[in-house]
């Protein structure tokens, strides 16, 4: 029986995996394909990516289901052909298959939930009811797939994050992590909708999230300043997953400029600021995870030495 991740995270730093989309692109994801399609077309490749992250030392891997709400799927031709429930259950199945093959049954599978891609009024026509139903359908399927925790991520609208969180809590008692995506503006950190870290921490903790955090949009060097600020807002465990630096183009292919070592140096500052769990987002690979593993192990060793 696995220990509850909520307990683990109070004892030591936890490592989440890195980018899935950029890995799938490197593995040959076509221009008109969507990542979730590969759960059926190329399940072996999805499993291989999970295994690579596990081998690199990730404690938690994220299911390939970021865009697997009915709303998001129906926005693309490829997605329309997929059944949302099947996509999510399959995504969880592939992650557990990877755990088994990597002989790492004690690691964790996080059921990944991303935004619907639609906006609430006045920007768009999304309603709370429709968002909740879509998230509930996704969460139910991930729960059936047996995920150990849920990870609601890259949320640019607190209202939508709350709908996703409520939907998960309606169908599961598992821990839920919620990451908002903030941009750095002259007056501070804000989501696209203008939500601040303060407001996010207040509302998401009141709504019963177990982990809070920030991911995507900002690269590791630009997210550092957010860490102490977020840490000052709450005693809850915090999770940060920044992007690798912006991509450059060589021979028509996207290459991320930042090295895993540079990334890890920034992440060290997050750990020092009291962030409890870290990982990567867009552009990060198992090489980044490997560097973070080294970093965390070294960090933990120092902490243990200090205590003894």
């Amino acid at each position: 029986m696995k220990e509850d991740i909520r307990k683990i995270i109070r004892q030591r730093k936890v490592l989440f995996d890195g980018g899935m989309g950029s890995m799938l692109i490197a593995a040959g994801l076509g221009e008109r394909e969507i990542p979730e399609q590969w759960n059926f077309l190329h399940p072996e490749k999805v499993i291989d990516i999970h295994i690579a992250y596990l081998a690199a030392g990730a404690d938690v891997i994220q299911t390939n289901s970021f865009g697997a709400t009915s709303i998001k799927l129906s926005a693309s031709e490829a997605g329309k052909a997929l059944d949302p429930a099947e996509v999510n259950e399959k995504a969880a199945g592939l992650a557990f298959e990877a755990l088994e093959r990597a002989k790492a049954p004690d690691r964790y599978v996080a059921g990944d939930i991303g935004p619907t891609g639609e906006f609430f009024a006045p920007v768009g026509r999304l309603t709370e009811k429709r968002a909740r139903e879509a998230f509930r359908e996704q969460a139910e399927a991930l729960e059936r797939g047996g995920v150990d925790l849920f990870l609601i991520e890259t949320m640019y609208d607190l209202r939508e994050a709350v709908e996703a969180l409520r939907a998960v809590k309606e169908v599961s008692k598992k821990p839920v992590a919620v990451e908002m995506t903030f941009d750095s503006k002259p007056k501070g950190y804000f989501t696209l909708m203008g939500d601040t870290p303060e407001k996010a921490a207040e509302i998401l903790s009141a709504e019963g999230a177990d982990l809070l955090g920030a991911n995507c949009t900002l690269s590791s060097d630009r997210i550092i300043q957010l860490a102490p600020r977020f840490r000052g807002l709450t005693d809850m465990p915090l999770l940060f997953q920044p992007n690798a630096g912006s991509p450059a183009f060589t021979h028509g292919k996207a290459v991320y400029r930042q090295s895993p070592e540079e990334f890890a140096r920034d992440i060290e500052k997050l750990l020092e600021a009291g962030i409890d769990a870290v990982g990567g987002c867009c552009g990060t690979t198992p090489d980044f995870t490997r560097e973070l593993r080294k970093l965390i192990d070294g960090y933990q060793q120092q902490a243990d030495d200090r205590e003894s």
């Binding site: 950029s22 221009e31 008109r32 906006f119 920007v123 002259p186 804000f190 989501t191 696209l192 909708m193």
Partner: protein, 215 residues
């Protein structure tokens, strides 16, 4: 008059569509100078919205509502303007779309809305637009500018293909090309020979204005 201009600007700043409509109608009823009301009233409001968005004071909902209020006022004032001898300086015609293989259209639509609110004529081709369509449309409309959005590192090369196609048809010099989207930056724009990069809708408006002034 000064008060009227301020109210017009404020209605856009507040994103108050009803108020913007009411003020536009009042402009016609009282036979106020339409062009001046547009330029020093509503447009100055939308500029302020843009400035506050860049500073991180206003956010997406306010930006969209401001642009909508602006649009409502323009729907009323535009016909009157065209009928009168007053001529608004033609801002230019922009062809805009998200490149083929890419269905992300939020950013692109915002840029189109803001350009339109700033008086540009817009042809929005939508998302997943083939390379040739950008160029065909630019030729057909005799456009001043093509704005190409790409949100994926896999679709970004399509932006270069549009530029190549303009070269092929020997019309590259006739039209300015700007690129945008999360993975793009100034280096990328330079690398593919685009005329500029904009990071958000407000920057895009400023960039198009600057490019068309130079051209």
């Amino acid at each position: 008059m000064k008060k009227h201009l301020e109210e017009c600007a404020q209605s856009v700043l507040d994103g108050d569509q009803d108020k913007a409509e009411e003020l536009a109608e009042l402009t016609l009823k009282d036979s106020l100078p339409v062009l001046e009301v547009i330029e020093h009233g509503f447009v100055s409001g939308i500029r302020e919205v843009g400035r506050l968005w860049e500073d991180g004071v206003l956010f997406l909902p306010e930006l969209v509502m401001g642009a909508e209020a602006m649009k409502k006022a323009m729907e009323i004032l535009q016909p009157a303007l065209e009928a009168s001898s007053e001529k608004q300086e033609k801002a230019g015609h922009v062809i805009i779309g998200t490149i083929e293989g890419d269905i992300h259209d939020i950013g692109k639509t915002l840029v189109a809305t803001m350009l339109s609110a700033n008086g540009f004529e817009i042809t929005d081709l939508g998302a997943d637009v083939p390379v040739a369509d950008f160029v065909d449309e630019a030729e057909k409309k005799n456009a001043d500018c093509i704005a190409i959005s790409a949100l994926l590192t896999t679709t970004m090369p399509g932006q270069k293909k549009v530029i190549d196609e303009l070269e092929n048809r020997s019309i590259r010099k006739k039209v300015r090309v700007l690129v945008g989207g999360a993975p793009c930056d100034e280096d990328w724009a330079e690398q593919i020979g685009a005329d500029g990069y904009a990071g958000d809708a407000v920057a895009a408006v400023a960039l198009v204005k600057r490019l068309l002034k130079k051209g």
